[in-house]
Amino acid sequence: MEGAGVSRRLRVGLLSFAHVHATALASTLRQLEQVEFTGIHDEDPARGTAAAKEHGSRWHETLDGLLEASEAVVIASTNVDHRRYTEAASAKGVHVLSEKPLATTVADGRAMIDACRRAGVQLGVAFPVRSSPAVIALKEAIAGGGLGRIRAVRATNPGQYPGAWFGDKRLAGGGAVMDHTVHAADAIRWLMSDEFARVQAELGAFIYGLDVEDCGILSCDLAGGAFASIDCSWSRPQTCPTWGGVTLHVVGDKGTVDVDVFRQALTHYDDTTGRARLVGWGDDLTARMVADFADAILAGRDVPIDGEDGLRALEVAIAAYRSSEAKQPVAITALQA
């Protein structure tokens, strides 16, 4: 696995199993050579004990128990709980890797950053798209000038409706926009070394009868003059052969690039379920992301994706909601004022 040869292992715990990514995160924490998986705490003890058993990991009855055993925690809770878990961890001097989005409000995200800064711990955010070799190659090509000036990006992060609390505004902070905008927004910021300046969005709750949006198209202006769109919709039917995907269509003065992050997949025609499924065989992006976080903490470096990155991506999602209500583009500075 990643990080072979490190001399010391980072003691990392997993906070909450509410998020659909928690299973992959638990497997990752168990497998990484540079990580000692200290166990699981969950606000739902039944779910948490079952998960601990399944992953051969220790169950911590109390939050403090897990924090005392850990140097860092990965937070895989509902979005709204990111803040309180981050504040609890930082108060105990424990580093944090938070699932995305960073928080459900700009104020909560800012509070998380401030809490970690005051405590002298690091705050990382889970944006695994940055770990894709294809995306990294694109970043290097852009930085090297090979594509000329980047003028436009059309990003998509469609998915199936995840169910559970993801459609509950109190716990998720919104719907598809909250869930899926931030991956693409972070990738675009990182690839272009630029910031979002303005967001226009059309949103709708059309497919699942939810109180939150399941469809959304964002049209964004970047500070450097390029523009980008993000399709964050939960538009993939349950019969779709895969959960969704992340694509980037990048148009530069000298070239056009298409990235399909999860294109590396076998097609499995499965008579036992009566449908076809895609079985990915590309790099394990979650493992690479957690490894990069752990390596940085162990080496005393800044984590590669920090709370400010998380907040910038969250601002794009918040601006989308504002724009949808106003039926006009919204400046990012209007959120910061």
Binding site: T156, E202, F206, S219, A226, V251, P329
Partner: protein, 328 residues
């Protein structure tokens, strides 16, 4: 009695329509015009037609229908002249460069009692027709979100007038207009439009538009003159009961390779069909004219799609959301 056709323009569209007409029964291509005139010679010879000026074709006694396939900014002048001489007009899309020009064409054709048809050929592409059927019969449920993409290499590198927005309207009136017309055909009239666009050197141009319907669906259209490997189309159409996906790059039953590599003619992505959509378009139009029926896409309909394209340009230029009201 044969329908006698004159062709204005010997570029991509003129040649396509001339060749499409040639294969039809009871149709004769009589004359071909181009600027400069000698560029019409090869196509005229292929069609067994004479070379003539556009002015001559618009007034010739032996021509019943004029195909206007000139650069966009010249459509109105010739279409109007042909109508005044009592000829039916089939005009390549967009109907015209400006709304005023389009309105003048509609008025002239209505006054002369001749047919004005606009070449929104996507309405004859079977993949788009099949999608329309699945929408109309409820198979997809209520449409929620649709994405349509259309790209080509920089056409202006081959045809300079495309690079002059005052003549062509750029990528929005060239490529996006197909999808704007398709969206109107599929879903009806939208309520508002927002778009971003850039123009680069070497004929690069790229636009993204979001088209919002009063309730639903949300539509995104991507139109690119930066698709350097050549022409492509695609769409994703999600209703509350299912989703349709089309990608022309995965739709050809025929793949040709050569030692020349990827440098090949444009439009190779069109799936091989027993009859091309361009020929289907003319076959249907000519049959309707003979039966005295209105064309599938008449001048009023072409004008509405043009106006939507102009609203996209207005939004892209101003950075504001444009409320959409279709012309009558």
């Amino acid at each position: 009695m044969a329908l006698r056709v004159g062709i204005l323009g010997a570029g991509f569209a003129g040649a396509m329509h001339a060749r499409s007409a040639l294969g039809l029964e009871d149709v004769r291509v009589m004359a071909v015009a181009a600027l400069p005139l000698d560029q019409a010679a090869a196509l005229a010879k292929e069609c067994g037609a004479r070379v003539a000026t556009a002015e001559q074709i618009c007034t010739a006694d032996d021509i019943d229908l004029v195909v206007v396939a000139t650069p966009t900014h010249l459509h109105a002048e010739y279409a109007t002249a042909a109508a005044r001489a009592g000829k039916h007009v089939f005009c390549e899309k967009p109907i015209a460069r400006t709304r005023e020009q389009a309105e003048e064409m509609v008025r002239a054709c209505d006054a002369a009692g001749v047919t004005l048809a606009v070449g929104h050929v996507v309405r004859y592409f079977p993949e788009y027709r099949r999608a329309k059927r699945l929408l109309d019969d409820g198979t997809l449920g209520r449409p929620a979100i649709a994405t349509l993409v259309r790209g080509n290499f920089s056409v202006g590198s081959a045809r300079e007038w495309y690079l002059d927005a005052a003549k062509s309207g750029g990528v929005v009136l060239d490529l996006m207009l197909h999808d704007l017309d398709t969206v109107r055909w599929w879903f009806g009239e939208p309520s508002r439009v927002y778009a971003r666009r850039f123009t680069g050197s070497g004929g690069l141009e790229y636009a993204l538009a979001t088209i919002r319907y009063d309730d639903r669906p949300i539509v995104q259209i991507e139109s690119s003159w930066a698709e350097h490997s050549g022409f492509r189309t695609g769409f994703e159409l999600r209703g509350d009961r299912g989703m349709l996906v089309h990608d022309s790059r995965d739709a050809s039953p025929l793949t040709v390779q050569s030692p020349a590599g990827r440098e090949g003619p444009a439009m190779m992505a069109t799936p091989a069909l027993s009859e091309s959509p361009y020929r289907s378009q003319l076959r249907d139009l000519f049959a309707r004219i003979r039966r005295g029926e209105r064309p599938l896409v008449d001048g009023h309909e072409g004008l509405r799609s043009l106006a939507l394209g102009l609203a996209v340009i207005e939004s892209a230029d101003s950075g504001t959301v444009i409320e959409w009201k279709a012309p009558a």
